[in-house]
Amino acid sequence: MSSLIYFLKEVAKTYYSRKVLEVHNLDIHSGEILAIVGPSGAGKSTLLRMLNFLEPPTQGTITFHNHTFSAGVEMPQDLRRQVTMVFQRPMLLNRSIQANVSFGLEIRGIRGTAERVQAALEEVGLAHLAHQKARTLSGGEAQRVALARAIVLKPEVLLLDEPTANLDPYNVGMIEKIVLHLNQTHHTTLVLVTHNVFQAKRLAHRVAFLLDGKVIEVSSADVFFNQPQDPRTAAFVRGDMIY
């Protein structure tokens, strides 16, 4: 694999004196698809929020492009803007679909966005709805707009927080295809949080298993699913309860 884009060292996150995440070491490689799997409450979303620099770790450091993010440190704007996230719920603005997709470009002061917006909407198969209001969309369409809104920015890193958790198989398939394409053509680094082992299997190059805030195992998808090193990983992959 190519160079490191993220490097996490002794990262811990505490909310109200409850430690929800403790990662001693985690590397994320440029251009890879890393899936983070684990049961709900394992700290997956917390980890993503920190990778997006939305909240700093309580302890430890997250190095991104040789820049260190830690408690009390604000990440420089231009670095922060190389990373974006699609959440589990689409969280569209109460505007037109086009206005939603151009939002990220506008706040960066980029003008004349019509073509880029159109291209992004075409990629998610919704170009014909550009002028409709976002609130008229179905769940799957809304999530595809949310994805278009992220990919129009051509981010270096795209974080996906359970992006297909509530969707039908058609939309799941479509979103998976789009993110795979993004990774293959633009070498966008993808970090995908999912509780769906099958989705991780379909998409990921490497998989990290998170349980009770701790990284139990990180390995290539092949090893992770076929020869898991940790019995808890093996149980999770089999679909057994591991509480």
Partner: protein
């Protein structure tokens, strides 16, 4: 006496001016304060909200009394004799009183509207690269329907208010007489038809202003 139409027009204009300027000032202060309170948590946050809610229900006549005491010649501000501080019994004093009445209404309702916006939306907007200011602006636009209600409530609170303008304005003919104080006066003088006519004018103004603001609200729904 209020008999000549030009006098009536002066009264209407003064009402609109005093309440308009007070509304503008209280909106310019109240909306940002409401957004700040809605988006941030700090020590004393709940206490500040309690104060704000109290302010929303404060009797105008009590605010009139405070402003009277502040602006009178021997008062805390009046004794400073600064050009920026209006004297008692001037339209400026009425603007001060009405600004204080409208501010908690606008800040309070704006805060509630902002709190009603899903906190995850702000996080999503930040994740798309917005600065804190840009994110606050997005939340404000998402809450726009409630914010316009806040401004309408502020306007309603002061255009119809009589206690404070009476006390700090003095209802001086040709100088500080506004619609509400004129209604009080003409009723006291037994000129009920005039009082009723003035009341109708006041109602019409309030109605028209509200229609205009609702159009603004409707427009923002459609965009």
């Amino acid at each position: 006496m209020i008999s000549v139409p030009t006098e009536l027009i002066d009264i209407i204009l003064l009402s609109m001016q005093v309440s308009g300027v007070a509304l503008l000032i209280s909106t310019l202060i109240g909306v940002p304060v409401g957004v700040f309170l809605g988006l941030n948590r700090f020590v004393g946050h709940r206490f500040t909200i309690a104060l704000l809610y109290t302010g929303m229900g404060f009797p105008p006549v009590v605010i009139g009394l405070f402003v009277y005491l502040l602006l009178s010649r021997s008062g805390l501000l009046g004794s400073l004799h600064l050009t920026l501080i209006p004297a008692l019994f001037t339209p400026g004093a009425m603007v001060v009183a009405q600004t204080i009445i409208a501010f908690p209404l606008i800040a309070g309702f704006t805060m509630a509207a902002v709190m009603g916006v899903d906190p995850n939306l702000r996080q999503q907007v930040m994740a798309l690269g917005a600065t804190k200011q840009q994110a606050a602006l997005v939340v404000l636009t998402e809450a726009r329907v409630g914010v316009i209600v806040a401004i309408i409530a502020g306007f309603g609170g002061i255009i119809s208010e009589v206690g404070a303008v009476m006390m700090v304005g003095g209802n001086i003919e040709g100088r500080t007489r506004v619609l509400t104080t004129a209604i009080v006066l003409s009723t006291r003088q037994g000129e009920f038809s005039l009082a009723l006519a003035l009341g109708l004018v006041l109602l019409s103004i309030t109605f028209l202003v509200n229609v205009a603001m609702l159009r603004l609200q409707g427009k923002s729904f459609d965009e």
